[in-house]
Symmetry: C2
Subunit: 354 residues, 2 copies
């Protein structure tokens, strides 16, 4: 089967499929022994800069799990790191910034991205993967961090619980905030366009931490920049997935920002999420990743429910957030098999899910 | 004015008031210099065991801010600590448990609470406060931790990001989970009944971390125990406030559990929260506590919006979560004044809020 006709891309377009496609956020990574063997220690950014290695890490979960899509092995801070902002990714902690963004003068540290010159290694990885995946009929997903989530790392200097500096800048210096988010939107858009040109078949915009915001904050101060990214990709023929954690209250806005598919965490059932998102868009999710730390019986019970509520058409099965490092790969293997075996009954409108 | 006729208690009953009452979760605590002076170092549990000191710490924010309600200086782990489970509260970290709850044999470590014998100091604090607050017309709020949130501390051994052990127990050992939650419900109910008998005028059930759960998990595995607590208080004549963080998706269920007032964090606007909760119940909230770390202009703008969306009647102004330790007390002083000055216009249906 061709990539364009794959279950994943058909589901993104809300076309009928013979099965519900499945992939996992962070499917490449620390939960896989072959990942730990191939990668060794050191910053994830070093691994991303080696196209052969990054391509191998991207392919590992496709081989092991038989997932319906590969996601580029990369990180949301790659573009800002590539233009020299001074970001690293600490294993087990996440992005850390030595000199956080605090004033207008810091905007000068975020020059425009020249994708070939600055992130040629990413594009080379994509070209390798496109060649490898084409004969398998497996699409490759590219991605970027949404302006708010990237801004939160640049401003807080690392992961945060309450985003206090970010929210203070947003509230107290709205002009500077808007310029920062526009700048980050242009970086994300340039990166995503170059990924599409190099061969990815879909893109996901990660606004992982937007769920910390109120509806009004999101609508006023965040949505315009995310829309700039997503609408800038319109007409390129690649589905746009938009995802964040704890965003039940933001789902209608995240859809309106220009998403073809809205990613949903485990808190809101997919049938309810669809009601909030409205017709004509796909949903992606939403098994709780901590469930995968428990018994198979729990995973199966939740997966059955996710499939039933997902409604078959326009549903991409995924976890509600990334695979946890402690996850037993055998559980995910079994989960992919389960989704593939069970989903024809869901995809076709047979009265079997009640 | 009598306590029974105070703006706070009237608002809890959805009766008209001359102003929107305001208090702050964690109004007593590290953000106040007089708190740091009175309390000194050491575990918060030691301070709670000293009635004169605990009463003083409860009164400090009433004096400084002129808030419309006092909340007992205590902690949600007091009952489980009092029956000897082995819990302490580390400054800056929160509850820590040396031997976490993992198996049926741990149920034996949670004997029933004898409020006078086990937590006589709490009741003595309440009696002191009832005497002090009565002439001021200021009601005292008692509280307890909801079964899920207390269980999460007992099982995880401390604060958690993903509640993985808690969710594993919930999913894989539903019988044991139900017994644990029933046991914790009985502890919370015994504590709250004793607090009411000693003189509190309202109670708040803190299910701070329930927002991590899906709608179905909450409804199946958590709501029955919370309902047991809240319905066990019916007919005692004290309003029951039910609060958690990130619970936008759970608001209808948290109301249905038996709340007279539903506490809302900052993510969902109060007008939308009211739609989800339905008529006949009050709402409490919901200014973002991090906003109070910024400029007064930001606080004022958000407070105006909260008052407008709160709709006046049946609204208790509060933050969307506890006061952050770094908060400037001058901001909260000004905020109380602002709410009191502005709210008559809101409480009466005058077209002034557009």
């Amino acid at each position: 089967m061709s990539v364009a006709d794959s279950a994943f891309l058909r589901a993104c377009r809300c076309e009928p499929t013979d099965r519900v496609p499945v992939w996992f956020m962070r499917q490449a990574g620390r939960s896989l022994p072959e990942y730990r063997a191939a990668r060794g220690p050191g910053s994830i950014l070093d691994a991303i800069r080696q196209p052969e290695l990054a391509a191998e890490l991207t392919l590992q979960p496709v081989r092991r799990y038989g997932v319906d899509a590969a996601i580029l092995f990369s990180d949301i801070v790659v573009p800002v790191a590539a233009v020299g902002f001074g970001v690293d990714v600490e294993p087990g902690r996440g992005p850390v910034v030595s000199r956080p963004f605090r004033a207008a003068s810091d905007l000068g540290r975020l020059r425009p991205l020249d994708p070939e010159a600055d992130t040629g290694y990413v594009l080379e990885t994509i070209r390798i993967l496109a060649r490898e995946l084409e004969p398998l009929g497996v699409p490759l997903i590219g991605f970027a961090g949404a302006p708010f989530t990237v801004a939160s790392y640049l401003i807080e200097g690392g992961p945060s619980r309450d985003y206090r500096h970010t929210r203070a800048l947003m509230a107290d210096e709205p002009g500077l905030w808007a310029r920062l988010l526009e700048t980050l939107a242009e970086l994300a858009l340039a990166s995503l366009k170059s990924q599409v040109a190099a061969g990815v078949s879909a893109v996901q915009l990660f606004d992982s931490w937007a769920g910390a915001l109120s509806v009004e904050e999101y609508e006023t101060s965040v949505l315009p920049a995310s829309r700039r990214v997503l609408e800038g990709l319109a007409g390129l023929g690649v589905p746009r997935i938009h995802f964040g954690v704890g965003t039940g209250h933001l789902l209608p806005l995240m859809a309106a920002a220009g998403a073809d598919v809205v990613g949903v965490d485990w808190r809101v059932p997919l049938d309810e999420a669809r009601r909030r998102i409205g017709p004509g868009r796909g949903v992606q999710g939403n098994l709780n990743p901590t469930t995968c730390l428990g018994s198979w019986d729990s995973v199966e019970a939740e997966a059955r429910d996710v499939l039933a509520r997902g409604g078959g058409v326009g549903h991409i099965f995924n976890l509600g957030h990334g695979v946890l490092p402690e996850t037993d790969p055998a559980i995910l293997e079994r989960l992919v098999r389960y989704v593939h075996e069970q989903s024809p009954a869901v995809a076709a409108p047979v009265a079997e899910t009640g």
